[in-house]
Symmetry: C2
């Protein structure tokens, strides 16, 4: 909660006597700074003000994707600044993915030396990561790294032999690779070491484990995977294999005292799986190496795991299903602002109603927040900021403010225009919403 | 025409012996500079090369709109640089429009002091304009200013009383204003003085006079305009009034030895006008209130006037019609790249075939070129460059290169990716086409 009190009526900033209580110093100070205005002669003033404010959702995130394009650290730091101006408090760092692995691991240096776009210039060193985290911390922003697996890992395979599943064409390897190989003990040994490092480098209590968009065709083609499926009693049910893998990874990070966030797919697998038959068997050759009976199970991941909704179609129904199962949710689906359209497409972000789904009050409380996602297919440092700002700020207001008081796009428009000029004055390349001007235009080139 | 010859086989740039003839020094030198490449150790090389090249179209333009948003001069100069790298040779400066009048006229200083977004910070002084023109000249780029009238002139009215038509509600002025008032002699006196100044400030032989999107409702509401229509025998035919106005403006600039460019609407008015029936009847209560005969007329503007096609719908038919009338054309319609879409929308610019319309060879020769238009509703210096580049470069290749040799989007893709990295290395914030990286990423923020 944040309380700001300024008296008297209208005072020059330098003379202001502020009776100000900030229990959240960064957001409170930010609010205060945005109360300051200039008169026509350039003097700074604050009007008499009393603010008693608090965020509607506690998780207000921005996702940056540094795998599809590399983002220089300066671009990330600038994003953190602008996030603070909009009161975002979570930087979801989608740091690696198929195209490149820029994270320089101290345990597995080959991951970036072979998997980054360039081993020297397109990486995040340990020092870079520390710089991002400490810059974020000063703004009250938590940094949650995502190491997405078992899919989205093509770049991992370059520096870590045997990590990915060899795909087969008929009875011979095709030379291509699929998702992480879930049948080898070495996979889990590798992941245990990697996540041990990552858990210590990124101090936040959350870690994002991905788990989305796993294609099964390569697994299906591989005889070792098929043998493993048989041994485990998974039948032909690949969602079971995926669930088995994700549960293993979640358990690894749980043991490191991290709370996991995973994409909604992990919940969906569970749903698919639990509608299936009962007994699962482990045999010699699997890494448990004993025969076991596994009863019909629920979701075998810790109850505090957060599900992350990204699929645009049917996201309200998904909100219902996941919260009905008692799990917490972060909503990203309606805020994929890498998707651009001509015109005032910030409306789309602003008019999202995260709790407008069918469920009890208890269920609604399980929606801990939302996230604006800037996937990197078409974005790098050249266009990141104008594409993020002020469009992301529309989502930020939805996540911070009371729904009733911010229901009108028309009323939001001049406020967002002013805010955009504030961003520009502070050096953020925030693009215009429509025809007009700012007193202080962007002067860079 | 441009001839570049480099020998021998592969030579360090510093040792190169160049047998190079450049009859167009800027484009030839630009081609040469783009032949230079770095090896893995950073040395610069040129391979043996022989280029004999010339542009397909002589008019290869970019439109910037400095009225809907003000663009600092530095942003314009940078655009000129990137234009030269893509071999654009016309900067169409849509300098004023409804929202603001940033051009500081020496004859009518009130136009910008009252019509600009800000009279001191959001204007182009005479010195700014000279700077733009001389920078462009060094790159072989002509600067064609557009002073669009009679529509798109709301900002003009602020600094020039009686210039715009007072609109009426019933029998009383409503307080709002419409297009330029075409019935007052003072209008033409003003325009004569303004264009005399503009013709001398902008030395290029072309001048753009606009003439698009004139709404007739205000003219219709105004009793003086109606009386004028009556006097002139225009009946209720407002396109005739518009044509009358545009012909007057074209004649003013012709007398100043300028060749006019006008938007297609001016041709369309002519067509509408001449296709109307011969006798038009007005009665009491209508605004001409008399019966008159109006002869069928031709287009009364100089034959060398260039028509500028901007309407996306039916632009091929318009190409046919205008060239059939023996008039020259510049095509902008398919290159409105202010319109953005998610994904690789540069394909749209690349696959345009400007001569793919029904007409004779003689007609095709009348298409003197094309123009990539960046209208300013959603664009200012914060996002101009990533939105322009490299998407505009796709249009540039279409306008420069042989159609047969550049028919494949797939073949163009890696070439455009490389070129985009060249732009980034040269300091242009050119956005990425798709997943990947440049050796030298953009390092600004």
């Amino acid at each position: 909660m944040m309380i700001v009190r300024v008296t008297p009526m209208r005072t020059l900033l330098r003379d202001v006597s502020i009776d100000m209580y900030l229990s959240l110093s960064t957001t409170g100070l930010e609010s205060f700074s945005q109360l300051v205005y200039q008169d026509e002669y350039g003097s700074y003033f604050v009007n008499k003000t009393e603010i008693d404010d608090f965020p509607r959702f506690k998780f207000r995130g921005i996702l940056l994707d540094t795998s599809r394009h590399y983002l220089p650290v300066t671009a990330i730091l600038k994003t953190l600044d602008a996030m603070a101006y909009s009161k975002f408090n979570v930087f979801h760092w989608h740091i690696v993915d198929d195209p490149s692995f820029p994270y320089q691991s101290s345990t597995f240096p080959d991951l970036s030396s072979k998997g980054a776009f360039h081993p020297m210039t397109h990486i995040y060193t340990q020092s870079d990561v520390r710089r991002v985290i400490s810059h974020a911390r000063l703004w009250g922003i938590r940094v949650i790294p995502e190491f997405d697996s078992p899919g989205h890992t093509q770049s991992w395979g370059k520096g870590q032999p045997d990590l990915l599943t060899p795909c087969y064409r008929g009875s011979t390897p095709s030379g291509t690779f699929g998702p992480v190989n879930p049948v080898l003990p070495s996979t889990y040994q590798f992941m245990t070491k990697l996540f041990k490092e990552v858990s210590s480098v990124f101090p936040d209590s959350y870690i994002h484990l991905g788990g989305d968009e796993v294609g099964f065709s390569c697994w299906k083609s591989n005889p070792d995977v098929r043998a493993f499926m048989q041994k485990m009693g998974f039948g032909g049910n690949f969602p079971k294999l995926e669930a088995f893998y994700m549960e293993s990874i979640v358990n690894i990070t749980s043991a490191l005292n991290k709370t996991s966030i995973v994409w909604q797919d992990v919940f969906d697998y569970h749903e698919k799986r639990s509608s299936l038959s009962v007994v699962e068997v482990w045999k010699d050759g699997c890494y448990l190496c004993e025969v076991r009976r596994v009863a019909k199970v629920g979701l075998r991941i810790p109850k505090d795991t957060v599900l992350h909704i990204w699929k645009g179609t049917g996201y309200k129904a998904e909100l219902s299903r996941i919260t009905k199962a008692g799990m917490r949710v972060v909503l990203a689906a309606p805020w994929y602002i890498n998707h651009i359209a001509y015109g005032q497409d910030w409306h789309n972000s602003y008019t999202v109603q995260p709790l407008n789904f069918s469920g009890t009050d208890e269920q609604k409380k399980l929606v801990i927040g939302g996230e604006v996602a800037m996937w990197g297919e078409y974005v790098d440092a050249t266009n990141l900021h104008p594409r993020l700002w002020p469009r992301a700020s529309a989502g930020a207001e939805r996540l911070w403010s009371d729904e009733q008081q911010t229901s009108s796009v028309d009323k939001a428009f001049p406020r967002l225009q002013d805010f955009r000029c504030l961003l520009v004055r502070r050096g953020i390349r925030a693009e215009p919403l429509f025809v007009g001007h700012c007193k202080h235009e962007y002067q860079g080139i």
